[in-house]
Symmetry: C2
Subunit: 324 residues, 2 copies
């Protein structure tokens, strides 16, 4: 489907329609950029929520020449949220209220979520996700509460400081254009969110992360989200281009597998989106678990030797650095 | 350490000491039986809980000739449980009460937990765990509430019905010796407990599972637990002996890797013991996550062709069979 990007900036349209257009356009743009580095192309699956409203489109590349596994998914869903779900959200959104006679709420949500795992242990894994949520008055169809969330982060198996700096700088630039207070806040939030408590280490070297973002006009936040989206390809693609053909040893591949085990631990034990999806009836499990790597390994009581490249990464995961 | 098994049957000793002896004896017996099938031996790590009481002994075999990874761990711990932990347990144990001035409770717990992952995709993975928990009056040191829990289950990548029958029969026999109502109940409980909700399938072909077992005299339950323990080696070792050298294709190995991915999903998302351990400060994470396989794989939207051996397993995981 070809989507006209003009709608993104059309002020006469509701934010929900503009954000939906943005995620559809970015899915095409990002998958094209990634496919440019591989001889295998993305496979597209469209799905609907059945009795509920909306659906999504998963684009997955498996067993490519550069990428072992990568998925760029969008979902555009609407329907009614049960009163319990509303109750949980109220802590962060005072103006959220039940509107149906049973306390249920009409909602709309859309977002893009991607995870890319290259083969080469020197090329980093990445994840990004930008999403919009709103509740709707069932009478007037006007937006009631709304917020944006999202972020992008990098998970290398080997630390190249210049790569970490590059990734952070691109995302800092994207935010600074609108508000210089955002990057420091979202960088810190990212380190905190992706902290694997039971391991005492972060999943990767961070990036940006934010949620419940409703403190500026929605139109302005949409521009910020677009700016972050625009930063993604230039922040990540050059790193893969640079590292995808770097020679590596079997030991380096094995270290990557262990780091992927930690990635799985974070996603299955701690990631709120994954938890929510797995416990929500009607979710498309394949799209949620697309984030898991094609291969992962767990070695009992594995600790890299001090001073090695593996240990250098671990030290940064144990105490996050400021990259820019 | 050599432990005298005589204490297991010494009625003059408290149950806690007899159960501790049982798990220590069984750790030696089971690891010896497993090591007999491999050229690599178990590596032993002893650990203590630091400021808290007790500790454990992890015995792990990695990268053997028969076993890719296996662990047989025991823990024998004691100390004080905070009031919140007691609150959660009260639903099942009415006679459980806070005894410290702050509502905390003195407790003792011991158990053995094992997970064995063979290399060969025709040889099944297995898990077993037997445990005892009690609360103690801080004045008299007498046992207040107590219960046993445990079970053993089998997770094949390929279904050999005779293997499933053998494993179930041995555990049925072990329980029938004491009470013929137990196996049907614990077999069903096992199928329910190891159900991976988000996949609509069980982790494996089941076995037995029970918790909060305090409905018979403790001495009698201890004998039942010993009987289950005794069933383990004869229920599992012959299956590995029979399958460990069966020729297999790369496709069969890959199917095993996918099934191991599901194993990881169950353990990290649903297993109560793992969840409890990962969220409890002071846990030894390496011992808890010893259960994870050395290698696992996630393939997007993978479904075996109907009528294949892979599909035959899936059908049984989707609707559990009665094996004996």
């Amino acid at each position: 489907m070809v989507v006209s990007p003009d709608k993104i900036h059309d002020n006469s349209l509701p934010i929900r329609e503009r954000m939906e257009t943005l995620v559809r356009v970015k899915q095409q743009e990002i998958t094209q950029a990634l496919a440019g580095l591989d001889t295998v192309d993305f496979h597209t699956d469209s799905w609907t929520r059945g009795d509920n409203g909306g659906g999504g489109q998963s684009m997955v590349l498996q067993n490519g020449t550069t990428f072992e596994k990568g998925g760029v998914n969008i979902s555009v869903v609407h329907g009614k949220l049960p009163p319990q779900a509303i109750q949980r959200m109220k802590a962060d959104h005072a103006n959220l209220k039940g509107t149906g006679s049973d306390g249920s709420v009409d909602f709309f949500a859309c977002g893009l979520s991607l995870v890319i795992h290259p083969h080469n242990p020197h090329a980093p894994t990445t994840h990004a996700n930008y999403r919009y949520f709103e509740t709707i008055d069932p009478e007037t169809r006007e937006t009631q509460a709304w917020w944006f969330g999202g972020g992008a982060d990098l998970t290398p198996s080997y630390l190249y400081e210049e790569d970490a700096k590059h990734f952070h700088q691109k995302h800092k630039d994207a935010l600074d254009k609108y508000d210089e207070t955002l990057y420091p806040k979202y960088k810190k939030w990212c380190d905190e969110y992706f902290f694997i408590k039971h391991r005492g280490e972060t999943r990767g070297i961070g990036g940006i992360f934010f949620d419940d973002f409703d403190s500026k006009p929605a139109d302005e936040i949409l521009h910020i989200i677009e700016s972050c989206f625009d930063a993604f390809v230039p922040s990540y693609i050059p790193l893969v281009e640079k590292r995808k053909d770097t020679p590596f040893t079997p030991e380096q591949k094995q270290w990557q597998q262990i780091r992927r085990g930690r990635y799985v631990e974070f996603n299955l034990v701690l990631d709120r989106g994954t938890q929510f999806g797995l416990h929500t009836p009607g979710s498309r499990v394949e799209s949620i678990l697309m984030s898991l790597p094609a291969t992962a390994s767990w070695v009992y009581d594995h600790h890299p030797e001090p001073g090695t490249e593996e240990d250098k990464l671990l030290q940064v995961l144990k105490s996050p650095a400021d990259w820019v």
